[in-house]
C-alpha cells in the first residue's frame, strides 16, 4: 500500500525519481508475513519476549489501553493531532546532518546524525510523551504519572502535562534526584510534583516500581506514561510507534538527500526507545545493518548496564526480556555514567531482534563514552548527551573499518547540557 505523503514531508521527497529507480519508497515497506515489522503478536509477545506480566488490578486497564490504542491508531484525527504537535511544538522533522570533520577524523565511512537533540526539551523522549498524553486524554484520564532516571523523560512528561493542563507526579530515585538537580528543578518549574524514591538503591528501577505502586492505587483516574519501549504490552509497541517518527523521517531524508539508504544505523540503548524508533522503519530494508550500543559501565566483567551482553531472559516490570539478575532471579543494579542507560533491563523487541540476529548489539564503557562525548564536541561543535555519546563511541570504532563510500547514520538522541556537571567531575574539572 502506498501511503499518502503528508504535506510537511513533501519537500523531503524531492528526488523521488531516484528513489523509484532504485525501487525504494520513501515510506518503509509494509509489514508482510515475513516482515521484521509485524511484531508483537496479538498477545503482545515478540517471540518469547514481551507480554503482560502485571498484577491483576492493572490487567483490565492494560486491556483497555490496548483497545484504545488500536482505535487511536486507526483514527486520522489522532494521527493529525500527533503530527501537528510534533511539527509545531516539538520542532520536527529534526535535521539529518552530515558530520564532515568527524568523518574525516575517523577516516572511514561517512557519518551522519539524526538530530533529535534539537527537539523541544532536548531529547527524543518528547515524541513518545506527546503520543501518550493524547492517548491519556482520549481515555478520559485526569492525572499523569511517570518514572524517570536522568530526568529527561520526567522533564518531557512534565512538559506535556503543562501543555495540556494535567496534574503530573514524577517518581525519581532519591540517588538520581541528588545527581540530577537541574532536571528536578525543571520538572518543578513545569508544575510537576517530584517524588524521591528511597526504596532499593534509589535509581530508575526503584522509581518504576513506585510508579507501578501508585498506578495500582489510582487506576481509575491515572495514566502512566512509560518512558521507554518496555513494560507490559501495549507499551513496547506504542512507544515504538510514537518514536518511529525518528526512523521514518531519517529514511525519507536519506533518500531525499543522497538517494540511498545508509549502510549502518547506530543508536544507544538503555530501555531502547530511541534505538527502536530509528531502527524499526528500516527493519525490512535488508541492506541496512543496525547496531545497538549498551552501556558497559566500568566494563562487562565489572559493574555495567548491558542487559543483552551480560543478562539473561527474565520477567520484570510487566515484560519478559533480558535482565541483569543473579542465579535466583534477583535483579542486580545496573551501572552507567549515563543515568539514562542505568537500567537492568531492555525493551523486549530488542531482546527479540538480538535473538533472531536482525540487529547487532555491542557495548561501550564509561571511559569510551566520555571520549565519544569530547570527540563530537571538538569535531562538530555539538555537545551530546552521555547516552548518544555511547553511540558515538561505537561509531568511532566501526567507521574506520568501513569504506569511504559507506554511510553510517547514528541517532543523536539528546543534548548534553544536563551532563556537563558529571562530565566535568569525571574529567577532574571543578566548576
Amino acid at each position: 500500500m502506498v501511503k499518502r505523503a503528508r504535506a510537511r514531508d513533501a519537500n523531503l521527497d524531492k528526488p523521488r525519481g531516484l528513489c523509484q529507480s532504485r525501487r525504494m519508497s520513501a515510506e518503509p515497506t509494509g509489514a508482510t508475513p515475513n516482515s521484521f515489522r509485524s511484531q508483537p503478536d496479538d498477545r503482545g509477545h515478540f517471540g518469547q519476549f514481551g507480554g503482560r506480566y502485571v498484577a491483576e488490578t492493572l490487567m483490565p486497564l492494560i486491556l483497555d489501553l490496548e483497545q484504545e490504542y488500536r482505535r487511536a491508531k486507526a483514527d486520522p484525527a489522532f494521527q493529525a493531532e500527533f503530527d501537528d504537535l510534533l511539527e509545531h511544538y516539538v520542532g520536527r522533522p529534526s535535521p539529518l546532518y552530515f558530520a564532515p570533520r568527524l568523518t574525516e577524523e575517523l577516516g572511514g565511512a561517512q557519518v551522519w546524525f539524526k538530530r533529535d537533540e534539537l527537539n523541544h526539551t532536548g531529547a527524543h523522549k518528547i515524541n513518545n510523551c506527546i503520543g501518550q498524553i493524547l492517548l491519556a486524554m482520549r481515555m478520559g484520564k485526569t492525572r499523569i504519572i511517570a518514572e524517570t532516571g536522568a530526568g529527561q523523560h520526567g522533564v518531557a512528561t512534565a512538559t506535556v502535562c503543562a501543555r495540556f493542563g494535567l496534574p503530573c507526579v514524577i517518581f525519581m530515585g532519591a540517588t538520581d534526584v541528588e545527581r540530577q538537580k537541574p532536571n528536578v528543578f525543571r520538572m518543578k518549574l513545569l508544575g510537576a510534583e517530584v517524588v524521591p524514591v528511597t526504596a532499593g538503591a534509589g535509581t530508575l528501577k526503584d522509581a518504576m516500581n513506585e510508579a507501578l505502586r501508585d498506578w495500582v492505587a489510582n487506576v481509575n483516574n491515572t495514566f502512566y506514561i512509560i518512558g521507554t519501549a518496555a513494560g507490559p504490552h501495549p507499551y513496547p509497541e506504542l512507544v515504538r510507534d510514537f518514536q518511529s517518527v525518528i526512523g521514518k523521517e531519517a529514511r525519507a531524508q536519506m533518500l531525499s538527500r543522497i538517494g540511498r539508504l545508509p549502510d549502518l544505523l547506530v543508536a544507544a540503548i538503555g530501555g531502547g526507545s530511541n534505538a527502536i524508533g530509528l531502527f524499526h522503519p528500516f527493519l525490512d530494508d535488508t541492506s541496512v545493518r543496525m547496531l545497538g550500543v549498551e552501556a558497559a559501565g566500568h566494563g562487562l566483567d565489572k559493574e555495567h548496564a548491558a542487559s543483552l551482553a551480560g543478562g539473561r531472559p527474565g520477567i520484570l516490570h510487566g515484560n519478559k526480556t533480558y535482565l541483569l539478575q543473579d542465579e535466583d532471579g534477583q535483579i542486580t543494579e545496573g551501572h552507567s555514567i549515563s543515568a539514562g542507560l542505568d537500567y537492568p533491563g531492555i525493551g523486549p523487541e530488542h531482546a527479540w531482534l538480538k535473538e533472531i540476529g536482525r540487529v547487532d548489539y555491542t557495548s561501550v564503557t564509561d571511559t569510551e563514552a566520555l571520549d565519544g562525548f569530547q570527540l563530537l564536541c571538538r569535531t562538530e561543535g555539538i555537545i551530546p548527551a552521555l547516552e548518544p555519546a555511547h553511540a558515538i563511541a561505537a561509531v568511532k570504532k566501526v567507521a574506520p573499518t568501513m569504506g569511504k563510500d559507506q554511510i553510517i547514520l547514528a541517532n543523536l538522541c539528546g543534548r548534553g547540557d544536563k551532563d556537563i556537571f558529571s562530565v566535568a567531575e569525571h574529567l577532574g574539572v571543578s566548576l
Partner: protein, 266 residues
C-alpha cells in the same frame, strides 16, 4: 481432601497469615512460622523475597530487603518450607512471590521443588491469566494449586478467566492498591465477595489492608477466609528474631475473631 481444602472445610472461616521468608534471617523464620500455627492460623503464606516487590507497600518491601540483606536464597526458602512440612504435616503452606524468582530456572523445576518441599499452593503476583503458560501448566501437572488474585477491577466478564485453572482458594484483593495500606470499605467487600462466590467453586479469602481482629471478623462474616500480612510483618520488623511471641499473640487474637465471626451473628 487436600490440605488446602481441609483448611477451608472446618465449618468456620479460615485465617490465612503471611510472613516473608528469611525475615529477619533464614534461621529465624521457622520459629515465626511455628508461632503462626500455634496462634491458630489455618493457612500459612510464605513470602519469597524479591528485589523488586512492586505490588507491596513499605512494610513488606522492607521485609524483602531485610531477608535478601540476610543472604536468603531460593534454596533457603525451599529448605524453610520443607522443614515446616516435616514439623506440621497437616497445615497448608503457600508460597507467595513474583514471577522472576519462580521461573528463572524454569517452571517445571520450580513446580518439582514445590512438590519436594511439601508446598500446597503458589500465589504469583505478576502472572495474570493472560500469561498462564509461564507457570500454570507446570504447577497443575505437579499437583500444586495455582492461587490467583481477583481485585476490585476484575469485572464479571473477566472473573471466569481468573477462576479458570486456579485452585485451592481465590485471593480477593479488597483494595485497588498495594499491600498494607488502607482497608476497603466493608460494604464494598461484602458486595464483591457475594458477586465472586456466585461464580466460584473454590473458597474466597480476602486480604490487603486487614490489620485488626475487628476488621478480620467483619470480613470473616462474608468470606471463607481472611488474609493478614503486613500487620504480622510489622511485628517481625519490630522484634526481629524474637518476634515469635508477639506474632503468636496477634495471630491468636485474629484467629479468635475470624473463627467466631459467624457465631456472633448467629
Amino acid at each position: 481432601m487436600t490440605r488446602l481444602a481441609s483448611a477451608f472445610a472446618k465449618g468456620r472461616p479460615a485465617l490465612v497469615t503471611f510472613v516473608t521468608g528469611g525475615d529477619p534471617t533464614p534461621d529465624a523464620t521457622a520459629s515465626i512460622l511455628d508461632a503462626l500455627v500455634e496462634g491458630g492460623a489455618d493457612v500459612i503464606e510464605l513470602g519469597m523475597p524479591f528485589t523488586d516487590p512492586m505490588a507491596d507497600g513499605p512494610a513488606i518491601q522492607l521485609a524483602n530487603l531485610r531477608s535478601l540483606g540476610a543472604g536468603t536464597k531460593t534454596a533457603d526458602i525451599l529448605r524453610i518450607a520443607a522443614a515446616f512440612r516435616a514439623r506440621h504435616p497437616e497445615v497448608p503452606l503457600v508460597l507467595m512471590g513474583y514471577a522472576n524468582p519462580m521461573t528463572v530456572r524454569g517452571a517445571d523445576w520450580f513446580a518439582a521443588e514445590c512438590v519436594n518441599a511439601g508446598i500446597d499452593g503458589v500465589i504469583c503476583v505478576d502472572i495474570p491469566p493472560e500469561e498462564d503458560p509461564e507457570l500454570g501448566p507446570a504447577l497443575r501437572n505437579a499437583g500444586v494449586s495455582l492461587i490467583r488474585l481477583a481485585t476490585p477491577t476484575t469485572d464479571a466478564a473477566r472473573l471466569p478467566a481468573v477462576l479458570e485453572g486456579s485452585s485451592g482458594f481465590l485471593y480477593y484483593v479488597s483494595v485497588a492498591g498495594i499491600t498494607g495500606m488502607q482497608q476497603a470499605v466493608q460494604a464494598s467487600i461484602d458486595e464483591a465477595v457475594a458477586r465472586i462466590k456466585a461464580s466460584a467453586t473454590i473458597p474466597v479469602a480476602v486480604g490487603f489492608g486487614v490489620r485488626t481482629p475487628e476488621q478480620a471478623a467483619a470480613i470473616a462474616r462474608v468470606a471463607d477466609g481472611v488474609v493478614v500480612g503486613s500487620a504480622l510483618v510489622d511485628l517481625v520488623a519490630k522484634h526481629g528474631a524474637d518476634a515469635a511471641g508477639p506474632v503468636k499473640e496477634l495471630t491468636a487474637a485474629l484467629a479468635a475473631a475470624v473463627h467466631s465471626a459467624r457465631k456472633e451473628i448467629a
